[in-house]
């Protein structure tokens, strides 16, 4: 905590003060090699690298690279492909696509290695720094050559168990690479070698936490979130990236009787089991030194009877002071959620004009089907719009722009017909914002389900239990380009077929949008009108696409399950 205090002092009067502490001892620093990614570099405009989850702190997933433009994109073709290999044989990595590997797998972890885990799949950030890609999957991390796809090292974590649903990617600070494990450790690796520096527990595994978030580096703070479906409180933590020492822990539900938002819960016990997990990376505004994150659903998820009230700070955008974890403002995008519709989506920061006035803005398209634009300095609500065309669970919006949930659309014994279905209009998929078009890009799921209450106990159920749902169809899943000033779509492209999941988005200064359709194609669209300019049928895109440049070549990287595909203009 002393370290935190020292940095907090530096912060006063200097917006970049956080970075004054950034050169603290890094265990991977070598006398002869410069750090791979000094944290101050993250304040520079995004260019050739892709050093964070969204490329830069804004969350826009917007690249200024210009080689691939609307006309050249038709000639995009494969540079290389490779597969993630989570298997270890005789201590060596095994890749069915590659010659016998000389890669020695580094093994860590507190478990016995006796659990079956799902095959590797990329569902989060792939970082590109200095020509090396850093990739994670639950219990695994890899480095690959960004020019060739050659595997450089593999790290495998022997798990204690837990929910192996995803890893949202790693983070890089100087020469340390960080990732979270399903059994609730924060692991620091030497990014050059894949050897472990240290690991620290970040949540109580016994309380059924599981950790998936891509950590976020801000100066000498490493922001870390966790997940939980089992009625445990959500929180955001900050660790010292050099040592793994906890700097602060900020709960997203009231934990004490004097909490100012306890009145949004019926009891302290309900609040302390109320969820609000932080499981997606947020965005950071260096000008205001605010970290803005989305939060997850309240729990028990489907039975709100024992947690009447708005349930703050669940399903919210929350702006946190990076040095201290103090909440500066919050805006709840889904009051008293009863559908497991997290508002965890990475908020997107940009400057724009609302009602003729220049504003510093933050926008999000939430899982519940509502789009919001707020003032990111104050949290003032500016725009709400129901972008989920089929969303039917709300009675409309309240004066403050929040949707007003219709209690009849919660789970009921005879069944309620609800859209979106459990997965939401969007989910973990990353949206994008292009400052040139002024449009916010997101996919839109139009599924319906019948939601049954199976546990009508007046105490409410537990976790995500007490319900059953049956998916009964779609109205046509789509991709939207949303005008942030109104929330209305400037254009909307309906994917042919029924069902299928849209994916994350990348947008560029050349007016392109890259995303996956619902039929296993990776596509490039004209950002201004949605025209389809290029496609390749590589499968359902599982991780956010990105772009980077090396040796004068602009690469576009897409991930499909355990396979990475890099495209260039050949």
């Amino acid at each position: 905590m002393i370290r935190v205090a020292r940095c907090a002092v530096l912060l006063v009067g200097a917006s970049l003060g956080l970075f004054g502490c950034a050169l603290a001892a890094d265990p991977t620093q070598s006398a002869s090699l410069p750090p791979l990614l000094p944290p101050a570099q993250l304040l520079q405009p995004l260019k050739d690298s892709w050093p964070t989850y969204a490329g830069d702190y804004s969350g826009r997933r917007y690249s200024s690279l210009r080689q691939i433009d609307k006309s050249a994109v038709a000639h995009l073709s494969l540079a290389w492909t490779t597969r993630l290999n989570g298997e270890v044989r005789d201590g060596r990595s095994r890749n069915p696509f590659a010659p016998p590997s000389s890669i020695i797998t580094n093994v860590g972890g507190e478990g016995k290695g006796d659990y079956a885990i799902p095959p590797p799949a990329v569902k989060g950030a792939v970082l590109q720094v200095d020509g090396v890609l850093y990739v994670t999957s639950p219990d695994n991390a890899w480095a690959f050559d960004a020019r060739s796809g050659t595997e450089l090292w593999h790290f495998f974590w022997k798990t204690r168990g837990g929910t192996h649903i995803a890893s949202r990617g790693p983070a890089l600070w100087n020469s340390s690479l960080f990732f979270e494990t399903p059994d609730d450790y924060l692991v620091s690796l030497n990014a050059r070698t894949g050897h472990e520096n240290w690991h620290v527990p970040i949540a109580e595994f016994a309380d059924e936490y599981f950790s998936t978030m891509a950590p976020v580096v801000i100066g000498n703070h490493l922001l870390v979130g966790t997940g939980n479906d089992s009625d445990a409180p959500g929180f955001l933590q900050s660790f010292d990236p050099a040592t793994g020492k906890l700097q602060w822990k900020r709960y997203m539900v009231p934990m004490t009787a004097d909490d100012p938002v306890l009145k949004s819960w019926p009891s302290l016990d309900a609040a302390r089991h109320g969820g609000g997990q932080v499981w997606m990376p947020g965005s950071y505004d260096p000008q205001t030194d605010l970290y803005i994150t989305g939060t997850g659903n309240p729990t028990p998820g489907y039975t709100g009877v024992a947690r009447l009230g708005d349930n703050l700070y669940t399903c919210s955008m929350v702006a946190v002071r990076v040095a201290t974890g103090e909440i500066i403002w919050h805006y709840q995008t889904s009051p008293h959620d009863t559908h497991d519709w997290d508002s965890s989506q990475t908020p997107i920061l940009f400057d724009g004009t609302i009602d003729g006035k220049p504003r510093k803005l933050v926008a999000t398209a939430a899982r519940n089907g509502y789009f919001f634009t707020l003032d990111r300095v104050t949290g003032e609500h500016l725009v709400s719009y129901k972008f989920g065309t089929t969303a039917n669970w709300s009675k409309g919006t309240k004066a403050n722009g929040q949707p007003d949930p219709n209690p009849e659309k919660s789970a009921t014994v005879p069944g309620s017909l609800v859209s979106p279905f459990e997965g939401g209009v969007t989910n973990y998929q990353a949206a994008a914002f292009n400052p040139d078009t002024g449009l916010f890009y997101t996919h839109e799921n139009t599924g319906f389900n019948i939601l049954y209450l199976t546990d009508p106990d007046p105490r409410g159920s537990m976790g995500l239990g007490g319900k059953r749902f049956s998916v009964v169809g779609y109205s046509g899943n789509a991709f939207q380009a949303i005008d942030y000033r109104t929330g209305k779509p400037a254009w909307r492209h309906v994917w042919p077929g029924n069902g299928g999941t849209g994916t994350s988005v990348l947008t560029t200064a050349t007016g392109l949008v890259f995303t996956g359709d619902t039929n296993g194609n990776f596509v490039a669209m004209d950002a201004t009108n949605g025209d389809l300019l290029w496609h390749t049928g590589i499968g359902n895109i599982s991780a956010p696409p990105e772009t980077y440049a090396l040796d004068g070549h602009q690469y576009v990287l897409a991930s499909v399950g355990d396979a990475l595909f890099a495209f260039v203009l050949n």
Partner: protein, 309 residues
């Protein structure tokens, strides 16, 4: 906070005989993260890979005699406050199945002192009195609690509840018949394809899921008409047309099987692309109605169909 990893979709095309309803499998969600697991590290000679779980479910099973004694002691001493199912009781005792103290307990070291010494009011809950129980009895209670925690289901759900049939038939069959006549009769009939549907699909909730989705369920009926699959008519650049059963459609390709059984696929874009693609989807009306039904309409129609024994 279900972090939905992905959705795998199988849009099966209808075509089975004796479909009760317009039959087509709608896309069903399945967590790709739950795919059959591949071993991360090869098992040793005696290695058996288990499903990764949480500590509450990783405990070796306790001694049944001790657990039985613990259950009896729990009933006597704890049930009034914590509930017969441990999920909290009328006297304000907290839900033990989500208690951090319980979940963090290994073998009674956290639970036994609370049982024996009680606890002051904390975390918004009432105080807990001390129980003058011998250590072995408090230990048995802890073992019993752990045995119930071990029965919790995925995603924090409580242990399976005793089967308690819930009546989902709350609608009005008369109104349902009227709705059916107005919206469904162009394709379906109570004396035709839906005859005896409530016998074939005895569970009213399954019946409701099936008819709303247009999903075939229940045993086929001999002689009932086959459900038409999705048809597609492709207009070629030349102006000619090809039609058949749709196999695949996206923005870039369309494929079909002709009535003669020939598989054809076409590109949709560029100078060689087809001129037009017209899809005739037998479930179109079902999909359209999804945006129109009130829950009352849905319950009424279910109540009506439930009379078609």
């Amino acid at each position: 906070m279900d972090q939905r990893p992905d959705w795998r979709h199988s849009v099966g095309l209808a075509g089975g005989l004796g479909a009760l309803l317009l039959a087509a499998a709608v896309a069903t969600p399945a967590a790709m993260g739950q795919a059959p697991a591949r071993n991360a590290i090869p098992p040793g000679p005696a290695g058996i890979f288990g499903q990764a779980t949480y500590p509450g479910k990783q405990r070796p099973p306790g001694d049944p005699a001790v657990i039985a004694r613990g259950q009896a002691l729990f009933g006597i001493n704890c049930k009034a406050c914590h509930g017969a199912d441990l999920r909290g009781g009328d006297l304000g005792g907290p839900n033990l199945l989500r208690s951090a103290l319980v979940l963090g307990d290994q073998s009674g070291e956290a639970i036994i002192p609370v049982v024996q010494k009680g606890r002051p009011a904390s975390q918004g809950g009432p105080p807990m009195p001390a129980f003058a129980l011998p250590r072995a009895d408090a230990q048995a209670i802890a073992e019993y609690i752990h045995s119930i925690v071990g029965r919790k289901v995925n995603q924090g759900g409580p242990p399976p509840l005793p089967e308690k049939p819930l009546d989902i038939l709350v609608g009005d069959p008369g109104r349902g018949a009227q709705y059916f006549a107005a919206h469904c009769r162009s394709c379906h009939s109570a004396s035709g394809d839906l005859r005896g549907i409530a016998t074939r699909i005895a569970n009213p909730a399954t019946l409701q899921d099936s008819w709303v989705a247009g999903r075939r369920a229940g045993a086929p009926v001999p002689g009932a008409p086959a459900t038409p699959p999705t048809q597609v008519l492709v207009t070629l650049n030349s102006g000619g047309t090809v039609q058949g059963t749709l196999k695949h459609l996206d923005d870039f390709t369309v494929s079909l099987t002709t009535a003669q059984g020939q598989y054809r696929s076409f590109i949709r874009q560029g100078p060689q692309g087809v001129r037009a693609v017209q899809v005739r989807d037998p479930l179109q009306q079902h999909r359209q109605l999804l945006t129109q039904y009130t829950d009352g309409d849905m319950h009424d129609v279910t109540a009506y169909l439930a009379t078609l024994k």
